[in-house]
Symmetry: C3
Subunit: 345 residues, 3 copies
């Protein structure tokens, strides 16, 4: 991971903590403890908390834009925003740019004032500050012994006003991020990674500058995958798989959900899942990439470094990273390979 | 909604009533009453009704074609055809055009005679009338404590013979419609909207001439989304979400289905779901659109007007409609906006 | 089906038998007996068998490549590899070509040594033999009363090293196949068909040379669909439908899975399902095809011949096959059709 990407990543981690600090739900206690999870049966409270978050939309070098939780801290993608069903987000969006822009969420509830669309005159003019309210709720009973789904999901937010009424310029240049609404009882992760396939890039970067995500063997890692732009993509993660449902886990032996390791990731869609890093027993450097062949070749590839449980590097992991970066520093098991053509320069 | 689209829409509503009138199942009683739903336990009858429907395939202005339930009544999309598992459709297709064409259904059962494909010599020559039989059934037990699914689903029908053996010309020019097979006990909607993403248009129209769907706050609204053509799309509806399964509802707390508000809608696929208009509390003018950015920009956008519960217009709703149509009639909350570039002209 | 395709198909059937012969699980007993299925409750053994399989990667005429279970037996797609959760594959890949290549599996567990990627220096140089280990497992309990999914699924394997680090040349030229991991208790099929949508071809063939799959009315047929390349596709099968979940069957009346007959099949993705040929009562010649209109027109169409239960040809079936092949041998119900333009030459 290059320094810039790394800085962005660290910023994001810090940012996330900031968001959670605004919560009354104690999400910032160590993840290990949170992993024990509140039983669903005790979580049927309907009163949520209100999370007041100030987000700064800022210009970044290279014609990019980003959302951040403090001035000068904008990242691509923006901070992960998360809450439990029943909570409310009160987002104060500060537009520090000279562009019209907004923030439009998926999955949650909002009035037309908070739609984030020019259609509803819901946006920030240049320099303007505006508040958007996003509400969430638990599932509710309806006719026919069925339930209207609650807000829980791996959602996302993005600009809907820069350049065009659909925010095409804002999305293209980095104004997007992950939004997670959890159902009480959901398992909390040790780490979180946001992967946005946007045009022919990942988080607006191409290999080898795409994010290198890191975890220790056995850690519970949450991936939030988001699609944007005009291209179709398929997200593939090596050596891990997940159930293609709301959580990535099965509810039990009669849960019909298929397991997958490759999933369509097209504009406006998002999904998330948790895996145990290295599946609990196979540390190493693993690829995640778009499986559309010419997209992978064009640089839609990144690395998931699964360290040993103690944080040390497993054999071969650094060599793989070096290959990815185009610098072959050490001999490998197949060191005589003549055709080792690394396209990731 | 322009007059032509409106006429089409009203015709479709009338058409739908006509189809249901042929049913012995009483689907035309008020939806409120039907919403109480027959319990599944009493619905395991295997005898269905036969619905005899005459459909007219007709040429429309502008090189388009449509299916209709009476001469001169063809619309794009064609009428919603619906039944319960166990019922049979006996479709008499009258070809009033000078083209070879057919009707090919998804999801239901048919013999090669009713395949609607030139492969099986199943089509109408110009001027010809031909009958197609579509059967449906309930789920049946099979080995391993599993069940072969019944016919229930949000399906569709389309031409499979005009222009080429795959009906490429017929599909391109409007010969398609929704086909719903319900399982007994399913919740019936108050309103139904058919949205067909076909090439770069919605129901063969571009914004601002795309359909404006209307409902009152709290009404149960059923969307049937169908994909056609050669492009990939993603269907997004603002301010509403649904469970990504057969009904759009959850079966209960252990139903693993994810909730979504954006879904791939690619050629030959269809899905449906029900939502409560405005989610029961947020009236207004909401967009539905393809989330592929350049498709939205090119006009794959329409409006879902959620009126107040009493049918009156909520604040700002008309202004949004006017903006969509490119006529700014009134001041808005952000009336000073300089960059209000409406691409929908 | 042309002779070459037929030979490939027969070879594949033979190949499959060869793979299963290496199993200690008795998968080669007649499918009818296997169809009775081991009850899940008695299948919770954690000890699996190790299946040692030698696979030969070979050059084929026309610049193609294939995997096979014996020298000179390579086919496109390669042999179906299948096992139960808990089993291990020990794949000895013999590279008989002058190209760098590998075998990379989806869904199963492997260390970086068996990744099949140049990133992890896991590939066969020209002429080299290398062993890849793929492990599988059953579901395991985790926090929150949820389960980490086991390995069961309709997966696939493919080259990840020929031409580029992503195996783009290998995949393009035929180095792919199906990999099935079954959960104990799963229903075993009578027949299996592998359908790979790869660029604008099916199993690297175009109509009318695409595979014609055959079954007798009532046989339980398993389809494994795999996507590859750079294009997006939708797989459609006429006159049959399946539940869009792990097995294609429903678990019972409260299983929320939708039924479908058309599904996205994009690069790197795979799915599988079982259907009863002709739905148990409708023999005939049925199309399967990509529903993207211009892909179907370009030849992404094949036939599924459902014979009568006794293996005889149903009325009209041969005529349909002849039409598909572009040779009209007999009169048909609509023999006067002037516009019968067969694009499949």
């Amino acid at each position: 991971m290059d320094k810039h990407a790394q800085a962005g990543w660290f910023n994001r981690l810090v940012s996330r903590r900031s968001v959670l600090a605004t919560s009354a739900l104690g999400l910032t206690v160590p993840a290990v403890a949170l992993g024990m999870a509140t039983p669903e049966s005790t979580a049927q409270t309907t009163s949520g908390v209100t999370k007041k978050v100030t987000i700064y939309a800022e210009a970044l070098p290279g014609g990019l834009f980003g959302y951040g939780l403090a001035r000068g801290q904008a990242t691509i993608p923006g901070p992960i925003l998360e809450c439990y069903e029943g909570d409310t987000f009160e987002i104060t969006l500060v537009n520090t740019t000279d562009q019209r822009l907004s923030i439009h969420p998926h999955g949650v509830d909002y009035t037309t004032d908070s739609d984030g669309s020019p259609l509803n005159a819901s946006f920030n003019n240049p320099g303007e500050t505006r508040t958007y309210i996003w509400r969430t709720k638990e599932m509710t009973a309806t006719a026919g012994r069925r339930w209207i789904p609650g807000s829980a999901g791996y959602w996302h937010y993005h600009d809907h006003a820069m350049g065009t009424d659909h925010g095409t310029k804002g999305i293209l240049t980095g104004l997007y991020g992950a939004l997670i609404v959890r159902r009480r009882g959901d398992i909390l992760p040790d780490k979180q990674f946001t992967v946005v396939f946007n045009e022919m890039a990942i988080n607006n970067k191409s290999a080898p500058n795409t994010p290198m995500f890191e975890a220790n063997l056995g850690q519970r890692v949450e991936w939030i995958a988001i699609g944007h732009g005009t291209q179709f993509h398929t997200f593939h993660l090596h050596a891990h798989r997940w159930a293609d449902n709301r959580t990535g886990y099965l509810e039990g032996p009669s849960d019909p959900t298929p397991s997958i390791d490759n999933k369509d990731l097209n504009p406006g869609s998002s999904f998330g899942f948790q895996v145990i890093a290295g599946d609990g027993e196979r540390a190493g450097t693993w690829m995640y990439h778009c499986h559309v062949q010419n997209h992978a070749e064009a640089g839609m590839v990144g690395l998931f470094l699964v360290r040993n449980a103690d944080g040390s590097m497993p054999p071969g992991a650094q060599e793989a990273i070096d290959r990815f970066r185009g610098h072959m520093h050490s001999a490998t098991q197949n060191s005589s390979m003549p055709g080792m053509d690394m396209e990731h320069h």
